[in-house]
């Protein structure tokens, strides 16, 4: 038994000795990531007057650089495709830790999906993987059950198999990150058939996730507490604007928070050539919508 326990102890000591190498390995990952916006936010390098939050509909449809040039205010797009409200809260809290408070936050809503569990919107744990050597990030990953509790004490348990890919990470044609944080697309989705839907008018609260509703309320309360102007933004889809969903968000947001809804009489929003797919504009369309947003921000103050 003594020999057995001694060998177990040796194994543990060897693992402890190897552990710092994992710290180096994971921090090396961080230098090779394509999208380093979150790292910049953690490091306090994202200071902006207008901050854009949301999922792909914010990342693709709002061009922060265009807003900055028009409004002469620093704008940054910190939206992540496929992210949900939980992730937006995390991004906002991370941003506020080391960056100056923005004057305005534009929070983009995903039509009908924002408050519901769905496959396309998630907490983007994959964005956190390359930053797992940071305590703050790892703590969140433990909270999300992405990393085990023991990873708080051993870097070995923060490693993830995607970090060991021999081939370099393929960059998709939709990975179009601009320095301003926006990710516009210049082409229409290949082999995609568009069908304009003018009849989407209803919204049911059935299936709403209480946690996502709470996240929405949390964003409102963080902005209120920090005296930040929050604007809910509804970009166009290749369908009509859904007034029932807007009403639901208004009920949750209260009367004080302004809503910016795209111009429903704009004919180009009904032209599929301005779209990548039903939910995302191409760069041409995004420029039109961003102009509209700029006008709104100029006049609404």
């Amino acid at each position: 038994m003594k020999l057995f326990l001694t060998k177990c102890l040796y194994l543990f000591i060897i693992m402890l000795m190897i552990d710092p190498l994992f710290y180096l390995f994971i921090s090396y990952q961080q230098k090779h990531i394509y999208d380093n916006r979150l790292q910049n936010a953690i490091d306090g390098k994202c200071n902006s007057d207008i901050l854009i939050l949301g999922s792909s509909r914010a990342a693709r449809n709002i061009i922060a650089k265009q807003m900055e040039d028009s409004l002469h205010k620093k704008c940054f797009n910190l939206s992540y495709p496929g992210s949900n409200l939980d992730f937006h809260v995390f991004v906002l809290e991370t941003y506020l830790q080391k960056n100056k408070k923005p004057e305005t936050i534009l929070l983009t809503m995903d039509d009908s999906l924002s408050l519901k569990q769905n496959e396309s919107l998630n907490f983007r744990n994959d964005v956190l993987y390359p930053l797992a050597h940071l305590k703050y990030i790892n703590d969140r990953m433990v909270e999300n059950n992405e990393n085990p509790f023991i990873s708080k004490y051993m870097y070995t348990f923060r490693a993830e198999k995607s970090m060991f890919k021999i081939t370099s990470q393929a960059i998709a044609s939709t990975d179009t990150l601009w320095p301003c944080g926006s990710m516009p697309i210049v082409f229409t989705k290949p082999d995609y058939s568009f069908a304009y839907n003018p009849n989407d008018t209803s919204y049911s609260t059935v299936g709403e996730q209480p946690q996502l509703v709470e996240s929405l309320k949390r964003i409102i309360s963080i902005c209120k507490k920090n005296n930040i102007r929050l604007v809910f933004v509804f970009p166009p889809n290749f369908k009509n604007h859904n007034p029932s969903f807007e009403k639901r968000i208004r009920n949750l947001a209260g009367t004080e928070i302004p809503f910016m809804i795209h111009n429903q009489n704009e004919g180009r929003y009904k032209d599929s050539t301005y779209y990548y797919d039903m939910g995302h504009l191409t760069l041409r369309g995004a420029r039109i919508f961003t102009n509209e947003l700029v006008s709104y921000l100029r006049t609404s103050h």
Binding site: M1, F4, N145, K161
Partner: protein
């Protein structure tokens, strides 16, 4: 609690240390600790169903005394009571909804609409395993091969020993109970063997099976859009996934038991090196197939009561085996396919051709004939796995027709699948290691060079840790 969870990583050393250092003064204390730990292990998944496990254990313990009676009528009565009790539990929790649905469909077919009550209850983990433990105990007593155990704790340890509680191997009373009742001593080599087995099992589960699961799930869920070649690869990948998953679990179970001084029945003996289907079933899930052989096939007459009865018994055993895996037509068809594959061997009396030997017995590599035999057996088994993996019969037939019917439109489609392909690389060391061990599984030590051995251990440990990003349940937990 899952073997591939961090809870188990804490649980095991704590129980190990208590077992050998605190409770080592008496066998009774050690068994009481094992039973407590086993119930804790099970209760971690669901405290609710622990009552069912305890009740099932208690009833078979009591039946054991009655079945031991010299009055054969009384013994027979209580034997049947035990069978009804165990199968009844299985029927309610595992099969009730299936039968209710079949009745509903049957009545609909003749124009009658009935609305049977469906049970909204989860399948208790390990139910198919611990009920079979209990039944084998009562059967063995009835057949005079086992005496009833006086000490309830000893019997409860036999039924609920945590390494085998939720997914086997299905132990026999006359194999495990004597080990429970005799003092156990710590043996360094046994414990080390146990650790090696656990590590190798963990590698098979976490790195190979879970790695392949990503690709397999994608291929089976989107088979309509994929070409025949990709589906073929998907079917092969599932063959290795289920082998890695289940044999990995069995290895961890056997290894864990060794740490506590127990030797469990071996459940896998390199089944994909089988040269025919009969050999495959002597090497795959051995504890289940031997259970059915001893308690169903032989009592029905086995292969010694004429050709017709042999064929009938073969079909019964394979259909029951399929149904044991789950209440679904898929599993029944899976069993039927194996029965049909077994039939020619039975009729030509070649089903016992490879009982004692192993492929390439005295050689390093198989000869051409053996290659052909192994590959054809593997292909047959892989074909049957399609039914096992599919969620519905429609999906299985759709998968096969797409696999066979679609031309190789785009053979590179497989290469463009998202993620999970790296796991295919690990199949190579798995096959090579299995080939190396095929004559003697105890050679898992691999090399006498300590330094090399430690490097291999560390490599396996780190591969497991890195791949253990999210716990994946074992496939056989659902049975």
């Amino acid at each position: 609690m899952l073997f591939n969870s961090f809870e188990f990583l804490l649980f095991l050393p704590v129980v190990f240390l208590l077992y050998w250092f605190v409770f080592n003064r008496s066998l009774r204390l050690q068994n009481a600790l094992i039973l407590t730990a086993s119930y804790f292990f099970y209760g971690w998944w669901s405290w609710k169903f622990m009552g069912l496990l305890m009740l099932s254990t208690l009833l078979d313990y009591i039946y054991g005394f009655f079945v031991f009676s010299k009055n054969r009528n009384k013994a027979k009565f209580f034997l049947w009571l035990s069978i009804i009790n165990n199968l009844g539990v299985l029927a309610v929790f595992k099969y009730y909804n299936f039968f209710a649905e079949q009745f509903q469909h049957g009545f609909e077919a003749i124009g009658l609409n009935i609305n049977p009550v469906f049970l909204d209850v989860a399948l208790p983990v390990g139910i198919s395993f611990y009920t079979f433990h209990g039944m084998s105990y009562v059967f063995d007593i009835y057949r005079g091969q086992q005496k009833p155990v006086r000490n309830f704790v000893d019997y409860a340890v036999f039924v609920s020993f945590f390494p085998l509680l939720v997914a086997g191997p299905i132990e026999r009373a006359n194999h495990l109970l004597p080990q429970v009742q005799q003092p156990r001593y710590f043996r360094y080599e046994q414990a080390l063997d146990g650790c090696r087995l656990m590590l190798w099992g963990m590698f098979k589960k976490v790195v190979i099976a879970d790695g392949l699961a990503e690709t397999v799930n994608h291929i089976f869920n989107n088979y309509q859009q994929l070409d025949g070649f990709t589906l073929f690869i998907g079917a092969i990948a599932f063959s290795f996934q289920i082998y890695g998953d289940f044999s990995g679990y069995s290895d961890i179970a056997l290894g864990t038991a060794k740490l506590f001084g127990f030797e469990l029945l071996s459940n896998f003996k390199f089944p994909y090196f089988s040269r025919d289907l009969a050999e495959f079933w002597r090497r795959w899930h051995i504890s289940l197939s031997s259970w059915f052989r001893d308690y169903l096939y032989i009592p029905l007459g086995g292969s010694k009561s004429g050709l017709f009865k042999s064929i009938r018994n073969t079909f019964i055993i394979f259909l029951v085996s399929g149904f044991w895996h789950g209440a679904s037509w898929n599993f029944i068809i899976w069993g039927l396919i194996h029965a049909c594959g077994f039939l020619p061997l039975l009729m030509l009396q070649k089903n016992r051709k490879h009982v004692t030997d192993i492929v390439a017995q005295d050689r390093k590599f198989p000869n051409v004939k053996e290659w052909v035999q192994m590959i054809s057996t593997f292909c047959f088994v892989t074909f049957a796995w399609i039914f096992f993996r599919s969620e519905t019969l429609q999906q299985a037939f759709g998968f096969i027709s797409q696999m066979v019917g679609s031309t190789l439109k785009n053979p590179s489609q497989f290469l463009h699948l998202h993620g999970g392909k790296s796991a295919f690389i690990y199949i190579i060391p798995l096959v090579l290691t299995d080939w190396y061990l095929r004559r003697d599984a105890r050679k898992l030590k691999m090399t006498q060079l300590t330094f090399v051995r430690w490097i291999i251990y560390l490599l396996l440990i780190y591969l497991c840790i890195v791949h253990l990003s999210a716990e994946q349940q074992f496939i056989y937990f659902q049975f």
